[in-house]
C-alpha cells in the first residue's frame, strides 16, 4: 500500500478524496445541526439525473462523452436544486407534508436518473465513455483526474470563504432562524446560501462516494465530531479531519483493489469512527454515561 502512494495517479486520487472529505464533513455540520440529513439524501440521490442529463447534453453539443467534473458537477447542482425547489413548491401549494414531498421527489429524480442511465448504456450507437457513468452510483475515486482536482479545489475555496465571511451570521441562522429573522437578516437570501453550501457539500463528493451513500459522508463526520466537542468551530474542524482521513484512506484502499467502489469503503470507515465516538466520548459517550450512573 505504501508503494501505491508513490504512484502519481494514486497521489492525485488520495489527495483529492481527502480534500473532498474535509469539505463535505465540515459543511455537513450545518446540515446535521439543522436536522437536514433527509434533505441531503434527497439532493444527492436527485443529482444522478443531472449527472446523466448533463453527460448526455455534453455529448449532443461536443459529440463526445465528457466525464469531467466541470460538466457533471454543474449538472448535479442543477438537479439537486431543482428537486429542492420543487419540494418547497409542492409543500407550500398542496397539503402534502414536507417529509412526504421529499420522499416523492427523491423517488422521481433518482428513478428518472436510473432510467436515463440505462437508456444511455443501451444506445445502439454508444456514447464513448458512458461505461464509467454508473460509477456515480457507488463512487469511484480512481476516476479522478487532475482537472477534477481543480474543480474540487474551487468548490472548497468558495465554501471556505463563504463560511469564514459570514461565520457569525451562519451560526445565528443555524442556531435560531427565527431570531435571525428578528435581527433583520433576510431569511430568504440566507436560507438560499445555506442551501448552496449544503449542495456544495454533497456534489463535491459524488464522484468518490456516489449518489447512494453520499449523505453518510455529509452527516457521519458531524455526528462523530459532535460527541467530542461543545463548540461549533472545533466541531467543524474535527468533522473536516474525520471526513478527510476516512475519504483519503478509503480512496487508497479502493485503489489497491482495482474495481472496488470507493463509497462503501469510505462509509465503513466513517461508521467505525461514529460508533467509537458514540460509545467512548467523554461526557456524551454511551459507555461513559453508564459508568457515571454507576458511581
Amino acid at each position: 500500500m505504501f508503494e501505491l502512494l508513490q504512484d502519481y495517479t494514486v497521489q492525485v486520487v488520495v489527495f483529492g478524496s481527502a480534500v473532498t472529505g474535509g469539505t463535505s464533513g465540515a459543511l455537513g455540520c450545518f446540515a446535521y445541526l439543522r436536522r437536514q440529513s433527509l434533505i441531503g439524501d434527497v439532493i444527492s440521490h436527485s443529482s444522478l439525473l443531472g449527472i446523466v442529463g448533463f453527460f448526455w447534453l455534453g455529448f449532443l453539443i461536443a459529440g463526445d462523452g465528457i466525464k469531467s467534473l466541470w460538466l457533471l458537477i454543474p449538472g448535479a447542482i442543477v438537479a439537486g436544486l431543482a428537486a429542492m425547489l420543487l419540494t418547497q413548491w409542492i409543500t407550500s401549494s398542496t397539503k402534502i407534508k414536507p417529509d412526504a414531498g421529499l420522499g416523492v421527489m427523491l423517488a422521481i429524480f433518482f428513478g428518472s436518473g436510473l432510467t436515463m442511465l440505462r437508456i444511455i448504456q443501451r444506445l445502439s450507437t454508444p456514447i464513448p465513455g458512458h461505461a464509467g457513468l454508473e460509477d456515480y452510483l457507488f463512487g469511484m475515486a480512481a476516476a479522478m483526474t487532475r482537472s477534477d482536482l481543480w474543480m474540487i479545489g474551487l468548490l472548497t475555496v468558495v465554501s471556505f470563504l463563504c463560511v469564514l465571511g459570514s461565520w457569525t451570521r451562519l451560526k445565528i441562522l443555524t442556531f435560531d432562524a427565527e431570531y435571525a429573522a428578528g435581527l433583520g437578516l433576510s431569511t430568504r437570501l440566507w436560507e438560499f446560501l445555506m442551501l448552496g453550501l449544503l449542495v456544495i457539500g454533497i456534489v463535491i463528493g459524488l464522484q468518490i462516494v456516489g449518489v447512494v451513500l453520499m449523505v453518510a459522508m455529509l452527516i457521519a463526520p458531524a455526528s462523530a465530531a459532535r460527541q467530542w466537542t461543545n463548540s461549533l468551530g472545533s466541531m467543524m474542524a474535527l468533522a473536516a479531519v474525520i471526513g478527510s482521513a476516512c475519504a483519503g484512506a478509503g480512496a487508497l484502499i479502493s485503489s489497491a483493489k482495482s474495481g472496488m467502489p470507493t463509497g462503501p469503503v469510505i462509509v465503513i470507515l466513517l461508521t467505525l469512527v461514529v460508533v467509537i465516538s458514540v460509545l467512548l466520548s467523554p461526557g456524551r459517550g454511551v459507555l461513559m454515561r453508564r459508568r457515571s450512573l454507576v458511581h
Binding site: 469564514l164 459570514s166 451560526k171 442556531f175 435581527l183 433583520g184 466537542t229 461543545n230
Partner: protein
C-alpha cells in the same frame, strides 16, 4: 401618550386561518406593557409581525427608533428592537457556550469576515452580569436550567443595545425566583428609558407587573393603561369566561380557566 410601536388596522393570516384581524394598537414608550389573550389569540404573531417575521395581509406597523423618528426600513426597525424568542424554539443541545450565544446579539455591528472581538466579549460579559449569569459564561448551553436559559436570552437582547425589548413569554417554565428577578430587570430597563413589551400568560400578576396592557383575541379587545384596559369586563370579552380572578389573591384561580403555559401557542 408617546408610543414606541404603533400598528394600524393590522391583519395577519396563516393560510386560511386569520391570526390577527384589524388590530390598531400601540406599545407605549418607556413603559412595561403586556400582550395578553387566550391561546391562539395572536399574541406571538403580533410580535412576529412587528419584527417582520411573518408577512402581513394588510395594515401598517410603525416602529419609532432610538432617535425618536420612525424607522425608515426593516433593518432600522430590527436594530432598534431586542427580541427574546420563546425558549422552546431552539435546540439547547447546540454546540455553543453561554458567551457565544450572548455574542450573537452583537452581530449587527459586525462586518463581513469580522468575528466578535475583545470589545464585544466585554459587552457580552457585562450583559451576563446584569442577569447574574457571569459565572456560566464558559458553560455549554445544554447545561442550563430553564430559568438560566431565559436569563441568557435576556443578556443576548441586552448586548444589542436596543431601545425596545420584545419578549415572547419570558416566564414560561421558569421558577418563581427567576420570574421575580426577570421582572426586576425589566423594570430597571424601563427606568433607564427603554421600552419593554412581553407576551404574558399569568393573569394574576398583570396588575403588579405592567403599566400598560394590550388585550387581544385575534381582534383588539383593549389597549391602554392597566387600570383602564385591564378590567373584568375586557378580560371576560377576551377570554369569554365569567368570574375570572384578576388580582394576585388566588394564584391558581385563573390557570384553570383561560390562561395556560403552553409554549407552542401562537
Amino acid at each position: 401618550m408617546e408610543s414606541a410601536i404603533k400598528t394600524h388596522q393590522l391583519t395577519v393570516s396563516y393560510g386560511v386561518n386569520t391570526a390577527l384581524w384589524n388590530v390598531s394598537a400601540y406599545i407605549p414608550a418607556h413603559q412595561v406593557s403586556a400582550i395578553i389573550g387566550p391561546n391562539g389569540a395572536g399574541k406571538s404573531t403580533l410580535l412576529k409581525a412587528i419584527l417582520g417575521m411573518v408577512p402581513t395581509v394588510s395594515g401598517d406597523i410603525e416602529v419609532i427608533a432610538a432617535d425618536g423618528k420612525p424607522a425608515a426600513n426593516r433593518a432600522a426597525a430590527a436594530s432598534s428592537i431586542g427580541y427574546v424568542p420563546q425558549r422552546s424554539t431552539v435546540d439547547w443541545d447546540f454546540p455553543i457556550t453561554v458567551l457565544d450565544l450572548v455574542l450573537m446579539g452583537t452581530y449587527q455591528r459586525l462586518r463581513w469576515f469580522q468575528r466578535p472581538g475583545k470589545i464585544q466579549r466585554e459587552e457580552a460579559l457585562h450583559a451576563l452580569e446584569e442577569v447574574q449569569m457571569q459565572d456560566f459564561a464558559r458553560r455549554q448551553i445544554g447545561q442550563l436550567s430553564g430559568g438560566q436559559q431565559q436569563r441568557v436570552f435576556l443578556a443576548r437582547a441586552f448586548v444589542q443595545n436596543a431601545s425596545i425589548y420584545l419578549l415572547d413569554e419570558p416566564f414560561a417554565g421558569v421558577d418563581a425566583k427567576t420570574e421575580a428577578m426577570i421582572v426586576e430587570i425589566l423594570h430597571r430597563l424601563r427606568d433607564a428609558g427603554k421600552t419593554v413589551s412581553l407576551v404574558h400568560h399569568d393573569l394574576t400578576t398583570v396588575r403588579r407587573y405592567f403599566d400598560h396592557v394590550i388585550l387581544l383575541n385575534k381582534q383588539l379587545v383593549s389597549c391602554g393603561p392597566t387600570e383602564s384596559a385591564y378590567t373584568p369586563e375586557y378580560v371576560q370579552k377576551a377570554y369569554g369566561v365569567e368570574g375570572m380572578q384578576l388580582d394576585g389573591s388566588d394564584r391558581n384561580g385563573s390557570d384553570g380557566n383561560g390562561s395556560d403555559r403552553d409554549p407552542g401557542n401562537v
